[in-house]
């Protein structure tokens, strides 16, 4: 038991620290909690104006999830999102590794300009280019197919991966690569056999972010792909579950929960990678 004199010191952080943090945590989590609660509520309770909306009083139902699975193309959208995200991530990480390696390690004419070009495209928001890009996608004959997204997502993923990996490669000492080159490895072999095994955390970080950004992408998917069965998760839930003036809030929230789930799972397992990827661009 601590003496009464030491009590204030132990309790103080409760008031000066944990109490002020609470509203921030509440603000961040409440909408997500409410999304989950809504998706499990029976319609009778959901649309009862007088019932307290925060809790489920009349039993949990999985009806909204069932309806979502049976009556909508939800799982097609899920698979589409998965295919597009995996393909775009693989392409972007590979291109990013190659470009980052030459920017971080090799000397060549135009390196500065290319570095600046990567930086500028890193800052280009998708909403600047979606109109002309839809024309390009059209001319390539890719509109209304998932390929349109596999090809266009790397436009914002490659600059991000390159920037992040370039920073990471620079933290790896060059000496080990030089040893390998003295032993007769060429640049490509050195990259694959020596640098990449050391740079695994950086590559994981780039892949996680590329996957998350692809999975969450909305504008390009909305513009380039219109058949309902080819839509990705974010667009499908938004545009196919709202019919006219009727909103199926239970199904919408169930879709939003399931659509966020893969990202949340990845996030729980790789929290530290997300934090380091987030701060890499700004602090380094």
């Amino acid at each position: 038991m601590s003496s009464p004199a030491r009590w204030p010191r132990r309790i103080r952080p409760l008031f000066t620290l944990y109490l002020p943090v609470t509203p921030f945590v509440f603000f961040a989590l409440f909408p997500l909690y409410f999304m989950f609660v809504t998706s499990l509520k029976k319609n009778a309770e959901l649309y009862d104006v007088n019932a307290a909306p925060f809790v489920i009083r009349h039993g949990v139902t999985f009806g909204h999830y069932e309806l979502l699975s049976k009556d909508t193309l939800f799982w097609s959208w899920f698979v589409n999102s998965l295919l597009v995200s995996v393909a775009a991530t693989v392409i972007s990480v590979v291109l990013g590794i190659l470009a980052a390696y030459s920017l971080a390690r090799l000397r060549f004419l135009g390196a500065n300009s290319f570095g600046v070009a990567i930086f500028i495209t890193y800052l280009v928001p998708p909403s600047l280019l979606f109109l002309p890009l839809s024309t390009v996608v059209n001319r390539l004959g890719l509109s209304d197919s998932l390929w349109a997204l596999v090809v266009t997502y790397p436009t914002f993923l490659v600059p991000f991966c390159t920037w992040l990996l370039m920073g990471y490669f620079r933290t790896v000492p060059k000496e080990i690569e030089e040893c390998a080159m003295l032993d007769g490895c060429n640049r490509f072999q050195t990259l694959v056999r020596i640098l990449l095994p050391v740079a695994v955390p950086g590559v994981i970080c780039a892949a996680l972010f590329a996957f998350t950004l692809s999975w969450n992408e909305f504008l390009y998917s909305l513009v380039f792909v219109s058949p309902a069965e080819l839509k990705t998760m974010t667009v499908g839930v938004f545009s196919e579950l709202i019919r006219g003036d009727i909103y199926y809030w239970g199904e919408l929230m169930a879709g939003a929960c399931l659509g966020s789930l893969p990202i949340v799972i990845a996030y729980v397992f790789f929290l530290d990678y997300y934090v380091s990827g987030l701060t890499a661009g700004a602090v380094k």
Binding site: P53, F108, P132, V237, F238, V283
Partner: protein, 317 residues
């Protein structure tokens, strides 16, 4: 000029990467071809799918192109028409209000949250993880729940306010123009706050402890330490975060499109949503491209200042 000096460290770093035993010219020739081979895929991707569309966008903005028609050159007609159109002027004003308010909120609350997180010792990972979550979840989907929370009849926000007797009738969150603007700013802040907090936190961690001890022994209180140690040393990180967020807040599409679609009465249209409405929904690609190009000068400004900051950081190392 600015750009070259700014990225000088790239060249310096590359210059040190030669293998020691071979002749310089030999290595240079070999490295150059390897470098071009490595860069080619990324280069052509960005050339065909970023640079070319950008040029196309400039062409569209100077033409009367419509969906399915190439259109002909009309000079700066689109820009002239936009600048005299009431809806575009409203969009311009909305964009400024939205960006200024959201950035201010994110900076102030992000700073406060970062300072709190810095001192959190118990449940550190859980609290940080929870606070970062809104940034990770798909925005289009999380905005749906905000829409549901502001729904006219069943709004949980109104229910709570009525239960607490703050108001006695429903507040029309998304149908009143000013409240709708407040709502989109709130959701943007909700989503962007974690980025500010976590990045500023990383900046705080990087400040040497000795500086605080020195300030304390000179008699500086908590406010003095914050103002004379934390703020000046955090300034570069703060600048990068604000610049970075400025462009993506200004270019926001998802939140406005899902929550209000630019309404009521165009009072929440931003460049992206208005460009979408003009270019795709009414098929006036020329006008739409002109609207989205208003993002470009701001993008260039942000790039310019960011690169200057990078150069500054490089000289301090």
């Amino acid at each position: 000029m600015q750009l070259k000096t700014a990225n000088g460290d790239v060249a310096k770093l590359a210059a040190r990467g030669e293998a020691p035993t071979r002749g310089l010219s030999d290595v240079l020739v070999r490295d150059t071809s390897v470098a071009y081979a490595f860069i080619a895929p990324a280069f052509f991707l960005l050339l065909f799918l970023v640079a070319y569309p950008f040029v196309l966008s400039v062409w569209f903005s100077l033409s009367d192109a419509r969906v399915g028609e190439t259109g002909s050159f009309v000079g700066v007609d689109n820009f002239r028409r936009l600048l005299s159109s009431g809806i575009f002027q409203q969009t311009l004003q909305n964009s400024m209000v939205f960006t200024a308010a959201a950035l201010t909120a994110k900076t102030v609350f992000g700073m406060a949250l970062a300072l709190l997180l810095f001192r959190v010792a118990r449940f550190k990972r859980v609290i940080r993880g929870a606070v970062l979550l809104p940034f990770i979840v798909p925005t289009a989907l999380s905005t749906l729940v905000w829409w549901w929370m502001f729904e006219p009849l069943y709004s949980v926000v109104n229910w709570t306010l009525k239960a607490l007797h703050v108001v006695n009738r429903d507040i029309p969150w998304l149908s009143d123009p000013y409240l709708a603007m407040f709502a989109v700013i709130l959701v943007n802040t909700w989503r962007g706050l974690p980025f500010f907090a976590i990045t500023l936190l990383a900046g705080l961690v990087a400040i040497p402890r000795e500086l605080y001890e020195a300030a304390e022994s000179d008699g500086a209180g908590p406010v003095g330490r914050f103002w004379y140690v934390t703020v000046p040393l955090l300034q570069p990180v703060l600048a990068v975060v604000i610049l970075f967020s400025a462009i993506f807040t200004l270019a926001d599409f998802n939140i406005v499109y899902v929550l209000t679609r630019g309404g009521p009465m165009n009072m929440t249209h931003l460049f992206a949503t208005y460009s979408f409405a003009l270019g795709l929904q009414s098929g006036q690609i020329g006008q739409g491209a002109a609207v989205s190009l208003f993002l470009f000068p701001i993008l260039l400004g942000v790039v310019f200042f960011q690169l200057r900051l990078v150069r500054k950081a490089a000289t301090y190392e």
